[in-house]
């Protein structure tokens, strides 16, 4: 039953762009896929390891900037810089983890905010290299598949979809591997975990490295898709919060949470943008903030766990009629 549903979903996702009326809608699903990737990546460290990052934009922006700088300077294919951008983000994450994961408390959250902000300021400051506030552009090549540029939005969609699928698979593998178990143990009780041989700093560090890598790759994709990178948007606190929000709204520590979260968030963003027609700056973000607070008040663990509970209760009710005889 489950397999059929999954297969059906998968097929729908594959044909989806063809079913949509115009490119604007395709853009929306591309963004949904990108945020599904970002949320999924955040989930690895925020959901499974329980370390709340409010600065994932740092990794996102690093990927975007490293890639775009390299592409502009050397003409190298973005298919290669996808990996380089991810690697750069991964390297960035190592000292962060090493310093913060020894400590218990809100330090990681605070340090990540700082990281995002500092990178943004550094990029703005060193404008001879990064073009400062004006940002960088990807040299337009028209239809150039080897340069990760396409004229239609469809190929971008499929690439993003593939990335999202990869994140889902990676998350599931991790869940089942030793690292996944260790992260759960650490989340339950770090002292007890340490006492039975779990190196919590290392485990969290691995989760963060993986998360940062994927986020960096998504940043490279984003740069290629939008052709522009601005420090305020890719390194901004707003981006960090959006990323975290996707995972939280959907359900932290679950495989499908970020996907659902991305779908919800992106629909939300787009409908508010349509409703307010760009007339009222900041209104949609007020709604974001309000949404975040409302979700926390109502279901602190997110939508997917709530749905899971609803389904479990529904399933529990059915056999009761039969069980009444015993």
């Amino acid at each position: 039953m489950r397999r059929a549903a999954a297969a059906g979903l998968f097929l729908t996702l594959i044909v989806l762009p063809f079913l949509l009326p115009n490119p604007f809608y395709v853009h929306i699903v591309v963004m949904m896929a990108v945020f599904a990737v970002l949320g999924g990546a955040w989930n690895l460290i925020g959901g499974y390891a329980g370390q709340l990052s409010l600065g994932h934009a740092a990794f996102f922006g690093t990927g975007a900037y490293v890639s775009t700088l390299l592409v502009n300077a050397t003409g190298i294919s973005p298919w290669i810089t996808l990996w380089l951008g991810g690697a750069a983000a991964l390297l960035l994450s190592l000292p962060v983890g090493a310093i913060c994961f020894r400590l218990q408390g809100p330090y990681f959250a605070i340090a990540t905010i700082g990281l995002g902000e500092v990178l943004r300021l550094l990029v703005l400051h060193f404008r001879e290299v990064t073009n400062g506030a004006q940002g960088l552009t990807v040299p337009f090549k028209g239809e150039a598949p080897w340069q990760l540029q396409f004229e239609s939005k469809f190929p971008y969609y499929y690439i993003a979809l593939a990335m999202a699928a990869a994140v889902v698979l990676v998350t599931r593998r991790m869940e089942r591997a030793r690292l996944g178990h260790y992260l759960v143990a650490i989340g339950q009780n770090q002292d007890a975990a340490e006492a039975i041989g779990i190196d919590s700093v290392r485990a969290k560090g691995q989760a963060l490295a993986l998360s940062a890598f994927v986020t960096g790759v998504a940043g490279v994709f984003y740069a290629q898709y939008t052709y522009v990178v601005h420090p305020d948007s890719v390194f901004g606190l707003g981006m960090s919060i959006q990323i975290a929000l996707v995972a939280i709204v959907g359900g932290v520590g679950t495989v499908l949470g970020p996907i659902l979260g991305a779908a919800i968030m992106e629909s939300f963003v787009q409908s508010t943008q349509i409703a307010f027609a760009g007339q009222y700056p900041g209104l949609e973000l007020i709604v974001y903030g309000g949404l975040l607070m409302a979700v926390i008040l109502w279901q602190p663990r997110g939508v997917i766990p709530w749905l899971a509970r609803v389904f479990r209760r529904a399933a529990a009710r059915r056999p009761a009629a039969r069980g009444a005889q015993t």
Binding site: R176, A177, R178, H181, Y182, V184, A185, Q188, N189, D191, A192, A193, E194, A195, I196, G197, I198, D199, S200
Partner: protein
């Protein structure tokens, strides 16, 4: 080598602000024995465990295990070397099943989760918890939580187990079960250090006893010797006077 010193604690000291919790503590634990550690409340027993297992770093002193230095190693490294401990207040992974709790311990030596699962099931059988394998750890009774603590520690395949007040708050029958559990550990070839206040348990289980008071060792010997040692009696009675 049975009978030889497996763990050597030399001159350990630890101060917290104005309190000298452990002061110049030295003792050995011999392979294959059950060593009882007793002493009035606040004598530094749990702190000693924390120092040995890396939860605190000693201000002075060394700990040697199986001939190599383990002073100042982080807890997970100490466990990897072969020393595992339980906590005075049990720390189960509450939302996880009993089996998964023990699996976490087994993963240390068996990184493949499937294999670790098999090992965990064996361990559960050894401590008598296999019937509760799929219960949520947080819903266990006290005695079963203690069993779980021991099982989880056992799953890491240690050579030395440090049990911190495993029998606190148990009924007499449960104490008997716990005693059998601890004796069973020795039968499996493990060395055990037991911190306890339940005197009949410690005295009958232990091969040797070390008595702590105010952070230092005041006496050491067989249970019979310790029971009649005037210094030990003084320490327990004296502690009450000191508090007044």
């Amino acid at each position: 080598m049975k009978g030889e010193a497996l763990l050597q604690v030399e001159g350990l000291a630890k101060r917290f602000g104005g309190v000298q919790a452990v002061a110049d503590l030295s003792f050995d634990v011999r392979e294959g024995e059950i060593l009882g550690m007793i002493g009035p409340n606040g004598s530094g027993k749990t702190t000693t465990f924390n120092l040995i297992t890396g939860f605190f770093r000693p201000d002075r002193g060394r700990t040697r295990f199986a001939g190599s230095e383990v002073t100042g190693l982080p807890p997970h490294a100490v466990c990897a070397r072969g020393i595992c401990r339980t906590f005075q207040v049990a720390k189960p992974f509450r939302e996880l099943t009993v089996l998964r709790n023990v699996l976490m311990g087994a993963l240390l030596r068996h990184p493949d989760p499937v294999e670790a699962g098999a090992r965990a099931t064996e361990v559960l059988r050894a401590v008598g918890l296999e019937g509760r394998a799929h219960m949520e750890a947080g819903s266990l009774t006290t005695i079963d939580q203690r069993r779980l603590e021991v099982a989880r520690a056992l799953a890491t395949e240690p050579r030395l187990v440090l049990l911190d007040e495993t029998m606190a708050g148990l009924t007499p029958t449960e104490v008997g079960e716990a005693m059998r559990l601890v004796a069973g550990l020795r039968e499996r070839g493990l060395t055990v250090v037991v911190v306890e206040h339940v005197m009949r348990a410690v005295m009958s289980l232990s091969d040797r006893i070390v008595v702590l008071d105010q952070g230092t060792k005041i006496a050491e010997g067989s249970p019979a010797e310790m029971a009649s040692d005037p210094r030990v009696i003084q320490a327990y009675l004296g502690a009450e006077y000191r508090r007044a």
